[in-house]
């Protein structure tokens, strides 16, 4: 058995890190579009309109059962054909990143909508009523009173799902996206399989750091939110 070469890890980190922006951009894009989708879905459920509520429910239930890799492949193979046959758009030559974005937007939207909905529903309806009763418009009541409170409730869950999204995003290399994972695999095949373990370890270190950053910064935000309240009151 070939001995493990520790020093290869910092070496390969230098080759991997230039591709971190790709990973982060996919992540940020999925968070942004997924949150928009999540908002639409959560709104459909909260409003209690029959048809759109049921559709949102069904969508969320399906996504809950869908392995990310399966959806990624369905989007990768299915989306070009779907667009070609419906609106005649040929996206076969398109950036791989688009497929990744679409996939994780679809997945993250479902997760996000559940967090938004449960946070919103945990806020007493009386808060909204009090706001409109002193003349705020329904939008102002939502934006100024409900949203800040719901956000505070959602923070711990939000941190969790961001971490999961970050980790699931590592699958993008399976359709050929060159993010840190993709680059790692390129390096391994360039070395004819040597130092595979060291490369994977380096990748694990990067992901571990990223999730710790997410976790710690949310912990910090939560703490400072509750601290702010106490210090002003006392």
């Amino acid at each position: 058995m070939r001995p493990f070469r520790f020093l290869f890890i910092p070496e390969v980190l230098f080759d991997l890190l230039p591709f971190l922006p790709v990973t982060l951009m996919m992540f940020a894009g999925s968070v942004f579009f997924g949150s928009l989708l999540g908002f639409v879905l959560a709104r459909a459920k909260v409003r209690g309109r029959k048809v759109s509520g049921i559709l949102a429910d069904a969508y969320i239930a399906v996504m809950r059962c869908t392995p990310p890799i399966v959806l990624l492949f369905i989007v990768y193979y299915g989306l070009p054909e779907l667009l070609l046959s419906t609106i005649g758009l040929d996206i076969n030559a398109i950036e791989k990143g688009i497929f990744v974005l679409v996939t994780f937007t679809l997945l993250f939207g479902a997760v996000m909508s559940e967090i938004m909905r449960s946070a919103y529903e945990s806020i007493d309806k009386g808060q909204w009523e009090a706001a409109v009763s002193i003349g705020l418009s329904p939008f102002q009541a939502f934006y100024r009173i409900m949203l800040p409170q719901a956000t505070a409730v959602a923070l711990p869950n939000f941190s969790n799902v961001l971490i999961n999204l970050m980790k699931d995003g590592s699958l993008a290399f399976t359709i050929g996206l060159i993010d840190i994972m993709g680059k790692g695999n390129l390096i391994i095949s360039k070395n004819f399989g040597a130092y595979a373990l060291e490369t994977y370890m380096a990748l694990a270190l990067i992901y571990w750091t990223l999730t710790l950053i997410i976790e710690k910064s949310f912990g910090y935000i939560e703490k400072s939110l509750s601290r702010g309240k106490r210090s002003i009151a006392e």
């Binding site: 009386g126 003349g135 009151a233």
Partner: protein
Amino acid sequence: MLELKNIHKSFNNNEVLKGVSIRVKKGDVIVILGPSGSGKTTLLRCINFLERADKGEIFFDDLRVNIRTASPADISRIRKRTAFVFQNYNLFNNKTALENVTEGLITARKVPKPEAIEIAKKALSKVGLSDRENYYPSKLSGGQQQRVAIARAIAVNPDVILFDEPTSALDPELTGEVLAVMKQLAREGVTMVVVTHEMSFARDVANHIVFMDGGVVIEEGSPDEIFSRPREDRTKQFLSRILPVWDYVI
């Protein structure tokens, strides 16, 4: 000034308001009495469009609104002329006492911030809470929270304030402080519609009493008429249950 005409409201085939009409003049303190489930809360909520009545009209001076066809602009106009004090206070949890009071001024009425703060401070001092301006609701007692809620209501200078059992969630020793504030407002000529079970408040402060049961107004009149010479059997029955015997004397 404010007139409700023939308000109807059902919750899934259960008709809760069966044609209620009420007239409020400027400076009136109207107390609505009635057994539990008679539709008092629902009526107040319909005035403020927290509940949308099925049928009826609301006249606010020259503003005439048919509830069924009311536009969002109509609703907003009516809400800006009324304020609501809730049974469970509903202070904004994410805002301090002062911010609770300025919110309606700054956001809904576009009052400049310094001016809003000045108005809010006056309102808070009126309810005796100047020293609690920067407290969050979770750090206030129930009675204090309700007084902030009243300050929030008077700060926006509404034509009429609607109170839904403002003291019923409070311990007996805290109801006094809230009732005192309401009495003070009545003396200053603030128009109020109050749902309450506090009979002493009804008798001493109200100038008009409305007795409701089963979604209709059974009887109305001055406190003296209602308490000393009730005409309807249901009113008598209700009062005999709620008033201790000695309350009839005097």
